[in-house]
Symmetry: C2
Subunit: 121 residues, 2 copies
C-alpha cells in the first residue's frame, strides 16, 4: 500500500525543466537545495530525487539555459550553484506559453459539459 500513489511519474515529464527554471528565476541555488525546494514549493506534488535532478540540471546546462559556479561555504561540502541565463529566460517564457496552451487544451477536453458543442447534435 503506497502512502500516496506516486503514479504521477509521467505527469512530471515535460514540466520539471520548466519548474526548475522558474525556481532559478528567484535566485541561484545548488542542486541539493533544489530537491527540497521543489518539494516545498509544489507541496510535494512534484517531489523529485537526486537521481532525477542532477541529470536534469546537466541537460539544462548543455542547452545553455543555466550556468554554474562552484562555491565553498565556510563549513560543509562545496556547492555547485546554478543560475538562469538570458537564453534560459527566453526558454522559460516559451515553455510557459506552451504549458498554458497544453493545460487549456486538456482542460477543455476534460470539461464534462463540453460534449461536442460543435453545433450539430
Amino acid at each position: 500500500m503506497t502512502p500516496t500513489p506516486p503514479a504521477d511519474r509521467e505527469l512530471k515529464r515535460g514540466v520539471l525543466e520548466l519548474v526548475l527554471l522558474r525556481l532559478l528565476q528567484d535566485r541561484p541555488a545548488y542542486g541539493y537545495e533544489l530537491v527540497s525546494e521543489i518539494a516545498r514549493r509544489t507541496e510535494g506534488e512534484l517531489e523529485i530525487k537526486e537521481g532525477t535532478l542532477y541529470p536534469l540540471l546537466y541537460r539544462l546546462e548543455e542547452q545553455g539555459l543555466v550556468a554554474t559556479s562552484w562555491e565553498t561555504p565556510e563549513r560543509g561540502a562545496p556547492r555547485k550553484y546554478y543560475r538562469i541565463t538570458e537564453v534560459g529566460e527566453q526558454a522559460f517564457a516559451e515553455r510557459t506559453e506552451r504549458w498554458r496552451r497544453f493545460r487549456d487544451r486538456v482542460d477543455a477536453v476534460l470539461e464534462p459539459g463540453a460534449r461536442e458543442k460543435k453545433g450539430e447534435e
Copy 2:
C-alpha cells in the same frame, strides 16, 4: 533536423490515457477513429500517431478500464470498438482529480507574483 522540436512530446505523457477515457465516455469508438478525434478535440495539441494509440489502448484494456468488441461494417475493414468500463469510469474520476491537483501546483509555482508569500520577507 526536427522541424519543430517535439518538446511537447513529454507533456503528453501522463494525460493521454486520461484524454482517451474522456473521449470514450461520450461514446464507444475504434482506434483509427480516435487518432483524428483526439487531434480535433484538442485542436492538434495532443495529436498522436497510431504507433502511440494502439499500445495505449492495449494498456487500458489490460487494466480493465476499457472493453472491446469487433464489428464489421457493411463496407470497409473490420473495426475494433473500445468502450469505457465501470472500473474505467472510476479510474477516470481519480485521474482527473490527480490532473487537477498537478495542474494547480504547477500553475502556483509558475505564477510570477508568487515569490515565496511565506510570510517572511
